[in-house]
């Protein structure tokens, strides 16, 4: 799965996710990536989110929207809300991660599994790349 979240000069957030799904999947199984609120979500009042991981758990936890809701209703930071939603996924037995960018340019990339490929660029054009485990 690949994804991107962005914040433009007008303060608008956007999120995008694309995937080939899971190897050997059957019966037309669909994961969280194309499901708005589960694997992909954006709201100018809070955050843009793109997820990757074990889709069934991200769907059940409505992860991307849950992260936004924690920021909107509880006033949590993007980092704290990101940490919370990935913990929920992990507590149910799922794994994966997400990227999130809030309206002020703060980002989070929590995960609980190996093989996380991440990249970010700052307003000044500084690029950071990491392969995390």
């Amino acid at each position: 799965t690949v994804g991107a979240v962005a914040l433009d000069k007008n303060g608008n957030l956007a999120a995008a996710t694309s995937t080939g799904g899971m190897t050997d999947k059957k019966f037309g199984r669909i994961g969280d990536s194309p499901i708005i609120g589960a694997g992909t979500y954006a709201n100018n009042n809070t955050v843009a989110v793109s997820c990757t991981g074990w889709g069934e758990f991200f769907i059940r936890n409505v992860v991307a929207y849950d992260l936004s809701a924690m920021m909107e209703y509880k006033g949590l930071s993007v980092q704290q809300a990101g940490k919370n939603v990935i913990k929920k996924v992990g507590d149910m037995g799922g794994d994966g991660g997400l990227i999130a960018l809030d309206k002020k340019g703060n980002m989070a990339m929590p995960f609980n599994t190996e093989g996380m490929y991440r990249g970010a660029v700052t307003k000044d054009g500084k690029i950071e790349i990491g392969i995390y485990k």
């Binding site: 799965t1 690949v2 994804g3 991107a4 962005a6 914040l7 433009d8 000069k9 007008n10 608008n12 956007a14 995008a16 996710t17 694309s18 995937t19 080939g20 799904g21 899971m22 190897t23 050997d24 999947k25 199984r29 669909i30 994961g31 990536s33 194309p34 499901i35 708005i36 992909t40 709201n43 100018n44 843009a48 793109s50 990757t52 991981g53 074990w54 069934e56 758990f57 037995g93 799922g94 991660g97 990227i99 960018l101 340019g105 980002m107 995960f111 599994t113 093989g115 996380m116 490929y117 991440r118 990249g119 970010a120 660029v121 700052t122 307003k123 000044d124 690029i127 790349i129 392969i131």
Partner: protein
């Protein structure tokens, strides 16, 4: 720092133990290219929506990642692609699932958002809509890579060996389908 663009390139695609310096360099180069593409749009005053679409298109076109060209195979040996996009300003959203012929599914998702009254389309209907929206259509073989095909064959072989040596029914793990560490993204 104030960030303007963040990307991810998959979960569990390659475990650390299988990562070579050459592979790592290739992944970093691909992610860098994607970030540069999106940043150029943002830095010139373009919209976040244009930036995320263009960024994801770069990753879809790169066979290293499980999206677009290089996607994993289903049990039946097909590449079935899913994508979604959302605009934080209007909360408009578009998504496609199970498409097999549109070269860049993320652009199909955007077309659903902007050129239809719907949010999600699936299967052949979504492919047809993408074609009518003027998006590039390819033969399904465009998405195939040999390494992903070998991954599927290995998994099918392992499953058939297990089935031949056990009468036990495989129980779903917890609330999900059976977990495989080799889920390849």
């Amino acid at each position: 720092s104030s960030y303007v663009l963040v990307v991810h390139g998959g979960a569990g695609t390659i475990l650390k133990k299988n990562m070579t310096p050459e592979k790592e360099a290739a992944y970093k180069a691909a992610l860098t290219k994607a970030l540069q593409t999106g940043y150029k749009i943002l830095n010139s005053g373009g919209s976040s929506l244009d930036a995320v679409e263009a960024t994801v298109r770069v990753l879809e076109d790169d066979s290293l990642f499980n999206a677009g060209k290089g996607a994993v195979f289903t049990h039946e040996g097909r590449n079935e692609l899913d994508a979604a996009i959302m605009d934080g300003k209007t909360r408009s959203a578009g998504a496609v699932a199970g498409v097999t012929t549109v070269r860049n599914p993320i652009s199909a998702a955007r077309a659903v958002m902007e050129k239809s009254e719907h949010v999600m389309m699936v299967g052949p209907g979504a492919d047809k809509f993408a074609k009518e929206a003027g998006l590039e259509i390819v033969d399904p073989s465009y998405f195939r890579t040999e390494s992903r095909w070998r991954d599927l064959q290995r998994i099918l072989r392992e499953d058939s060996i297990k089935a031949a040596h056990s009468n036990a029914t495989v129980q779903p793990e917890k609330l999900g389908i059976k977990n495989r560490d080799y889920k390849f993204g």
